[in-house]
Symmetry: C2
């Protein structure tokens, strides 16, 4: 037993990147230093900041000599105890984080691409150096997810994790559902409000959600899953009619990141995927609106849990980084970093083995026999139709299909063949059902 | 820097109490020992269990010699490294936990009464001994709350915490709202389902929620608040008509535990209270149904967060205890317990300083001039009426009032004087508004 900790000197922080999140973090660290030290029980001092353009004015005043354009010099500086990486992207963030860990410096990062692409190597480097590698801000912004999964629920046997982890697409889907906007109009609105980038494909095509799905799967199941392992469909092909039809079925449309434990193994078999889905309105995830995020957890002992909040933005993300930074600062010098769960190799469930019930809307030509030829395609692939409804008449006519459960591959083959039919103008995005429909 | 941790011998657990939660914990520890050790990275062995009646058969088989009737012998046993207290109640749990901490043994407890009544002394004893005192299961069952507040969000400046922390009352209120049941019928149903005790006053009168409110306030604001500091109103006086009227206003009725930071101090001024309230249906807390719990957090940087799940029950509570136990086991021997936030003295906001808008339903006699005399009482205390509606006619007539914001004391004086009016048969439970009404 050692004596109670006494007051120690400030822990010195080196910051890589001072964009929106970095500036919010600097504001918290510099302007609220006194209150923070009282609350957190540790003093933090920003000694180095690497930015792309050191000449640019920033909101927070920093002493001269602190700002530089050379991130490597920040990592290696002798007056930096802890490195905070907020640059984003895989390179050169990976090299810089590995260098910091290699010098025995703990690292806090908000970089989901980096953790999703190189988690196993990074965890191994942190473990070898016996220092912290913390990334609470990489998924779900301010929502506490990483620490609860790693620590509070370390003994839990999780069976499924379902997340709404991309605020941009959730905003678009909320507006399509509640205001009846079309996809393009909702996207434009999101861009005007600053919720979507001018080049929005990372959000719309599910890349961002896939990186977070990989991180959630790794944490919940203790397995090695990378962003590139995640099956991914975005929301571009959805239109207002699909969303309106879903509502009539008592469902909301959400872009879900799903990680599911399929078989215990070894190696454990998991399914990790991102796709738009029908969520019954009574499900807690259906009430997650606008840019909010939430992660819904199903476990053997805990039953159901949901963690909800702002998934992005400078202040919420900085709050999560700050929590990690305080943790790293407390552990620093004691040689007792936070626990890293052991990560096992995993087998990803092949598409061929999954079964799904889907909704799909087809725009068809106004001619006799269309339904018969469409139904024949479903039948040929063994996909059984549960209900069909014609919406509208003439040129804009639309057929809405709900299927029984069928193999993912058979569904994919059905949709591909439908798209090739002359009588079909357009095949909408398939929506997989999360729960009972209708 | 020390070398990476190698495999250590099992950490030996002494368990005080083997009721529902204790047996669920034993099942997890004994029957899933291998999977648990892999997931958690630490081996746990139950070496001692104290129970009231050692002769009774239990679901989990334990080696002979493990079970005893003497909890003190478990605390002091040399083959116990960590003590888990699941007895409930303040005495003798307090003495046993203090004894364990005094011997330098970390303690995990699910005992909300104990933490709410003696938190400051317990934290001081744990700090002096430099060992863990963990109590994730004391609030919100399996919902990760304590660790997120202490660690993930350690840097956050919280302004308000609003919890639905009692599953029994939430079940009753859900049934009153959704099935139109009266209070007695809903209580009976809850008792038949095992959600309410035969002697339900700890739940119905808000004692249980008050203990949890004190713990939440202490964690969120880093202050010393005890269960006895919490202003408390229960749900016994609510009836079906109140709940139905609330619904027509677009509101749900929920028993809320609220901790609010009113002034920065020093000492900081906080308001901590438990009472039934009107929650706008668009608020995330309104969607918390049945026996579920949730805690809604408002902070300067994080914005809004909500943590949702099962707040009670053997398995969910055992899952939270297990998370703490794994944590304590990891820290054990390293002399580096988890952080205890420094807790400041606090000033509780006096009732006289609070302002509230309320809804209240009155059952009145069928006679002329009743409304005038009732309105005069409101007027005399300076409580301004925003809307009034008569519901029904004749003997069962009822007046439903919504007020503008007024002082809590003036509202209390108004209700007391109304109850004394001859023309008023019954004053319903006042419902404070959480957000905008109507």
């Amino acid at each position: 037993m050692t004596a109670p900790r006494e007051h120690r000197r400030a822990v010195r922080v080196g910051l890589l990147g001072a964009g929106t999140v970095g500036q919010a973090l600097l504001r918290l660290l510099v302007e609220e230093a006194v209150a923070l030290e009282r609350r957190a029980g540790v003093a933090l001092e920003v000694t180095r900041v690497a930015v792309r353009d050191p000449g640019r004015r920033r909101g927070v005043g920093l002493p001269p000599g602190v700002v530089s354009a050379d991130p490597a010099s920040v990592v290696h500086a002798p007056d930096v105890d802890v490195v905070v990486e907020l640059m984003g992207g895989v390179h050169p963030a990976l090299e810089l984080v590995m260098a910091a860990l290699g010098e025995g410096k703990p690292v806090v990062t908000a970089n989901k691409e980096l953790v999703a692409a190189h988690g196993p190597e990074l965890f191994a480097a942190a473990q070898a150096a016996n220092v912290d590698l913390l990334f609470e801000a990489a998924v779900g912004g301010a929502i506490p997810l990483v620490r609860p999964l790693r620590e509070s629920l370390a003994g839990e046997h999780f069976t499924r994790v379902i997340g709404i982890v991309n605020g941009t697409t959730n905003y678009i889907l909320t507006r399509m559902s509640e205001a009846g906007l079309g996809f393009e109009a909702a996207l434009l609105e999101a861009q005007q409000l600053g919720y979507a980038e001018r080049e929005p494909s990372a959000d719309l095509d599910g890349h961002d959600a896939a990186a977070k799905a990989a991180i959630l799967a790794s944490l919940a199941f203790g397995v090695e899953v990378r962003g590139s392992d995640v099956a991914r469909e975005g929301i571009r092909r959805l239109d207002a009619a699909d969303v309106a039809y879903a509502r009539r079925l008592g469902q909301e449309v959400r872009l879900l990141a799903i990680a599911e434990r399929v078989a215990p193994g070894p190696p454990p078999v998991v399914s990790v995927r991102v796709h738009p889905a029908l969520v019954p309105r009574s499900h807690p995830l259906a009430s997650v609106r606008d840019v909010n995020n939430a992660v819904f957890l199903e476990g053997a002992a805990v039953g159901e849990l949901m963690l909800y909040g702002r998934g992005a933005g400078g202040d919420p993300t900085a709050a999560a980084v700050l929590g990690d930074l305080i943790d790293a600062a407390h552990n620093h010098g004691g040689g007792r970093p936070g626990r890293l769960a052991p990560h096992q190799p995993v087998r990803l469930q092949p598409l061929a083995e999954r079964r799904v019930a889907i909704y799909v809307g087809l725009e068809v030509q106004d001619q006799a026999g269309v339904l018969a030829s469409v139904a024949a395609v479903f039948g040929r692939h063994g996909v059984s139709i549960r209900s069909m409804e014609q919406i509208g008449l003439g040129e804009g006519a639309r057929l809405a299909f709900l299927t029984h459960e069928a193999g993912e591959q058979d569904v994919a083959a059905t949709l591909a063949e439908l798209a090739a039919l002359d009588a079909v103008n357009r095949v909408g995005a398939p929506l997989r059902a999360l729960g009972p429909v209708g």
